[in-house]
């Protein structure tokens, strides 16, 4: 049973690990392989700051809220493990700021210590009248992806550095199931008008005195189009750009200025921070995550694809819940193929 995962970002690698963990014991013939044209540190996941935080509203998408919770609880459980540092996992507290009252988010009981800001705390942020404080988690892609890669390599998962041009390409090589975790470029494999880039740009600075995340919100301009500051383990990420439909991965001078000015207004001490990098990336945005099976008829075989893409700006936040769901879909494929005790069948 050959399973190919397309994509080596947080979604691809975690889905691969989840499937291998759950099924390699039950299915000795299970062979996993990851195909991608970009690996860490060149994936979208590597550019993200790594803060666990869903969007303000789940738009009634309870399934996604459950996947977010599953991810948070899974990570929280790993916080005290010896692997935490290597995974890039740590606790962090911080602020969400608003210029008007906002309903409590779907994740208020998932994070730790969620509360409203006191008037004295709001003095720190002139111009903002309401806000939240909570303790959440950071999962830095630059550490997590290599950690996932090592776990997979230890398990004998193979890696192929090549762009996959079509699902058929893999099936004709003898792959039985494909996991489509191709993020922003899923449209190249199968057109999906719902999948659009949510372009982001960030400035990396050295500001080690900043110990909290600070996310501002401007309800009129939409999510992540307002300054944010997220301190990581090596540098602090300044951001606040979300451009729907913009495919450019070039850093924009105009965006740089806007991010810099607005973040320095938020935290005056940042004026003294040294800039050490800049990056642009495309959030694979979709009205909802596409996490479902698709059966394709190719000649006389039933080809199975499990789609797991469209996680927008909350990929890290939701990844493990989605990986588990993808693993369940894989399990149902195995059940249907009666794979747990079947001899190999004829091929194309």
């Amino acid at each position: 049973m050959r399973v190919a995962i397309i994509g080596a970002g947080v979604i691809g690698l975690s889905s691969a690990l989840c499937i291998h963990e759950q099924f390699h014991g039950l299915l000795p013939s299970l062979e996993l392989e990851v195909h991608a044209d970009h690996f860490t540190p060149h994936t979208t996941s590597d550019g993200a700051a790594g803060l666990w935080q869903p969007y303000l509203s789940d738009h009634g998408n309870l399934q996604e809220t459950l996947w977010n919770k599953e991810t948070f609880d899974y990570l929280l459980g790993h916080l005290h493990s010896p692997a935490a540092k290597e995974m890039g996992l740590f606790l962090i507290s911080g602020y969400n700021l608003f210029t008007e009252p906002v309903p409590d988010p779907s994740w208020k009981n998932i994070v730790l210590g969620f509360r409203n800001l006191t008037p004295k705390e709001l003095e720190l942020f002139p111009g903002y009248s309401h806000g939240w404080f909570n303790t959440a988690l950071m999962l830095e892609g630059r550490s997590y992806l290599p950690w996932l890669t090592n776990r997979l390599m230890q398990r004998g998962v193979k890696f192929f550095h090549k762009k996959v041009e079509s699902f058929q390409e893999l099936f004709s090589q003898g792959v039985d199931v494909v996991l489509n975790c191709s993020g922003m470029r899923s449209g190249d494999l199968q057109p999906d008008p719902e999948l659009q880039p949510g372009r982001g740009q960030i400035i990396k600075v050295l500001a080690p005195w900043v110990k909290h995340f600070i996310i501002t919100h401007d309800l009129k301009s939409g999510i992540y189009n307002s300054p944010y500051v997220i301190p990581g383990s090596e540098f602090t990420v300044l951001g606040g750009v979300y451009q729907h439909g913009n495919w450019s991965e070039e850093n924009s001078a105009k965006d740089h200025k806007s991010i810099w000015d607005s973040c320095c207004r938020l935290l005056p001490a940042l004026q003294k921070a040294k800039i050490v990098g800049e990056w642009s990336g495309l959030r694979p945005a979709r009205r909802s995550v596409r996490l479902e099976r698709e059966s394709m008829r190719l000649g006389n075989i039933q080809a199975e694809v499990i789609h797991n893409y469209g996680h927008g700006g909350f990929g890290i936040t939701i990844h493990w819940g989605c990986a588990m769901a993808a693993a369940r879909l894989f399990g149902s494929i195995l059940q249907e193929k009666k794979q747990l005790a079947t001899p190999p069948g004829p091929r194309l």
Binding site: P82, E86, F133, A207, V210, H212, S233, A269
Partner: protein, 341 residues
């Protein structure tokens, strides 16, 4: 008295902040700081600089609270300004955890720090040996940056600073009109204060930049305080010990205790061991005194004995000491005009 000459003895957080307050309240004063040690070799440099007050049994609580509030307000404004990183002042959130529920649920300073509340059940799960806790946000003064920033402001205002060991306050009476004694542990020798005793503290300063939150055991012995570049792991409270040499067994013990609160510290790098003697006293001595010898008078303002709570109350006590200096000046001016009569 056109330009009173004030000598401040001591260049730790108390000496420097007191000198600064004096220049602020008495612009005509000529202030000089004298000390045998300057940053990074003061007791203050060893401390983490967390604004979590120590309770002095012999000082009225409302006075301690006033000192803390003034200090917190002063530093809060700096932390919010462009100077924050240079001054080494930053906000930090975290938890104080207790193995058994403390007698008083609310410490006197709970309404001064930010967002003080009991920890939730979910948060306490992270600390299986602890049953109760407080969550709050407070400030941290990193040293050397904070001391260097104070020195810079003093120099900009014309304050002179000299390395000099003062062994007797009377040495200074011919050059200075008023002496301010901020000698911390040095006051034991300098003014023979038998109420003053060292409480030895050993700490580790480690590189663990993923630690963004503080954790403190309510017993005060084990704590993890993330600073700008290093995390301070502590500690010990050895009453009466004068030893400034690091102890290897203590290092191991501190490290183990901190790792049990925060397991990821196992991966900490670059462990530096430091020792400081907390200049402890049942009450902080912020007091005026006029020394007298052979008809000569020397006004002295004492500001020492802050023990484990120096950073938490430094600005409040500095202001009080500066006020006392003002009283000394008025007294001197009063007596000199009487002399003229």
């Amino acid at each position: 008295m056109a330009s009173p000459k004030v000598a401040v003895v001591g260049a730790g957080v108390i000496g420097l902040s007191t000198a600064l307050c004096i220049t602020e309240t008495c612009p005509s004063c000529s202030v000089t700081v004298l000390s045998d040690q300057f940053s990074p070799n003061t007791t203050s440099d060893v401390a983490a600089g967390m604004l979590i007050p120590h309770t002095y049994p012999d000082t009225l609580i409302h006075r301690q609270k006033q000192w803390f509030k003034e200090t917190f307000t002063y530093l809060f404004a700096i932390s919010n300004s462009a100077e924050a990183s240079e001054a080494g002042i930053h906000l930090v959130s975290g938890w104080q955890v207790f193995k058994s529920t403390p007698r008083e649920e609310l410490p006197f300073w709970s309404d001064v720090v930010l967002g003080f509340r009991p920890m939730s059940e979910a948060e306490l799960q992270k600390f299986p040996q602890h049953r109760f806790g407080h969550a709050f946000t407070t400030l941290k003064c990193d040293c050397p940056p904070y001391l260097l920033w104070l020195e810079k402001r003093l120099k900009a205002g014309g304050t002179q600073m000299y390395t000099r060991k003062v062994t007797d306050l009377w040495e200074l009476h011919s050059e200075y009109d008023i002496v301010v004694n901020c000698t911390g542990m040095g006051a034991h020798e300098l003014v023979g204060d038998k109420q003053l005793f060292p409480v030895r503290g050993q700490v580790l300063k480690v590189h663990a930049p993923w630690v963004k939150q503080f954790i403190r055991d309510g017993d005060g012995l084990t704590y993890i305080y993330p600073g700008i570049h290093r995390v301070t792991l502590g500690g010990t409270r050895e009453k009466g010990s004068w030893s400034l040499s690091p102890d290897a067994g203590t290092t191991r013990d501190i490290f183990d205790r901190c790792c049990s609160l925060e397991p990821s510290l196992q991966g900490a790098q670059d462990i530096e061991v430091k020792v400081g003697l907390r200049p402890s006293r049942p009450g902080v001595r912020v007091q005026r005194e006029v020394l007298s010898q052979g008809g000569v008078k020397l006004p002295v303002v004492h500001n020492y004995g802050h023990g484990a709570g120096g950073f938490s109350v430094h600005r409040g006590t500095a202001k009080e000491a500066a006020h006392l200096v003002g009283e000394c000046i008025s007294a001197l001016q009063g007596s000199s005009s009487r002399a003229k009569l």
